[in-house]
């Protein structure tokens, strides 16, 4: 279970719990701070407050260890190498997921430049899923995808949730929020979240 209490970053101030195998949809207008909140939980920006995984505070472990368990995936993934497969520790293991999300199975040696925005977004997701993190912080993971690819992503994440992974899924799509989230957090400009259960 992920416990977030009195997390503060700029104007944001939130507390909530996230059960194992639970997916929460995070909504709110652009610029309200959804990305800031997700980044803060992953400890990617300086922030205050207590964030614990199964009662273990994040400060008790090195930040890289925390982020392998509580993983933030940006809407536009970054690429530190020119070649696609160099971003994966085991490209062959990633291939089934790559193909399942409708990407060409020979894209491993491709230059990243050759990929479309949507392909990059799906590859970024696969790259993150390979960590098998306990908590996934997904920042608009289907913003660049057509409906068929988005459905494939939703199905894949649903499987992970069924296996016990906790997910916070930020989205602008109300229908998607209702589909994927068992709860919906609505973020308002004052930096608080209001919870609604479906």
């Amino acid at each position: 279970m992920l416990t977030v209490s009195r997390l503060k970053r700029l104007h944001i101030s939130v507390s909530f719990d996230l059960q194992d195998g639970e997916c929460v949809a995070l909504q709110g207008p652009s610029g309200v701070g959804k990305t800031l909140l997700l980044r803060s939980i992953a400890d990617l920006d300086p922030n205050e407050g207590a964030v614990k995984l199964d009662g273990t505070p994040r400060e008790s472990m090195p930040a890289p260890t925390w982020r392998k368990r509580v993983t933030y995936l940006a809407a536009e993934p970054g690429w530190w190498s020119d070649i696609v497969q160099e971003h994966f520790t085991a490209w062959d293991d990633a291939l089934p997921l790559v193909m399942r999300l409708g990407l060409p199975d020979d894209c491993g040696p491709w230059p990243v430049q050759r990929l479309s925005t949507g392909e990059r977004q799906r590859l970024g997701l696969v790259r993150g899923l390979m960590l098998r993190s306990r908590v996934l912080l997904l920042d608009e993971p289907t913003s660049a995808l057509d409906s068929a690819s988005a459905a494939a992503v939703e199905a894949l994440i649903a499987e992970r949730v069924a296996d016990g992974t906790s997910v916070i899924w930020s989205t602008h799509d109300d229908a998607q929020a209702r589909r994927v989230g068992s709860r919906i957090f609505a973020m308002s400009p004052d930096g608080c979240i209001k919870e609604s259960r479906q």
Binding site: A42, D43, L44, D45, P46, P62, A63, P64, T65, R67, K68, T71, Y72, L73, A74, E76, P77, G78, W79, W80, S81, G124, R127, G128, L131
Partner: protein, 268 residues
Amino acid sequence: MTYIQLSYGDLILPALLVVMDGVLSLVLRLKLEKQLAIATVRMVVQLVLVGYVLTFLFAAVSPIWTALAAFILVLFASREIVARQKRRLTGVWKYGLGATCTLLAAGTVTMFALLTELRPDPWYHPRYALPLLGMMLGNTMTGISLGLDVLTNSLVRERAAVEACLALGGTRHQAMLPIIRDALRSGFMPIMNSMAAIGLVSLPGMMTGQILAGVEPVDAVKYQLLIMFLIAGGTGLGTLAAVLGGARLLTDHRHRLRLDRIDAGKSG
């Protein structure tokens, strides 16, 4: 050793060449005449002053005065490093990083040369220590400022890539490594280029100076080689320290990228 001495009067004719540049600027409306005038006056004043300061220092041969002069050289070098940065660090490290690294690198190789090869008596004799330090500072400064410039610019440009690596559980070292490599490469480039071109395209100032002063060319070459080896070592040390130090300052103990430690206001 004989050399042809110049009087101040001998400089009037060559100085007319600069006046010619100024006239060119006026005629062609390059609008450089004011800058040119300022630069010329600065050069004359700075050099004449340095001449007298060195005369005093060489007569005094005092460790305190020599150290003070060295300290002032380092201050100017670190100011120059900051002036060459498009993006600067905030707080004390803005000047501190450049100053520490130039001092470390140039100081180390200068001491090394004084204590092992040149061995003047006393070892801190300003006739050897200051020109040597000056040359080391000038060159390590170039490597350091280039390395830091590439580091900060690449971090801002490649932020998404660095943060992707961090978000996936990479350490700050892993995430910064590609950029650190680029920055180090850029820092080393000028000294390698000048080593390749030296003797063929360019005759270094110190060597020509010694030759004009009557030193045998082969002896002047040996001196120049010593200097070039020292510069190469100093640039390596300084650039390494500055880039690794900069990379450390721009991340924190929780392995976060801290671009907020780059001064956003002043760029250009």
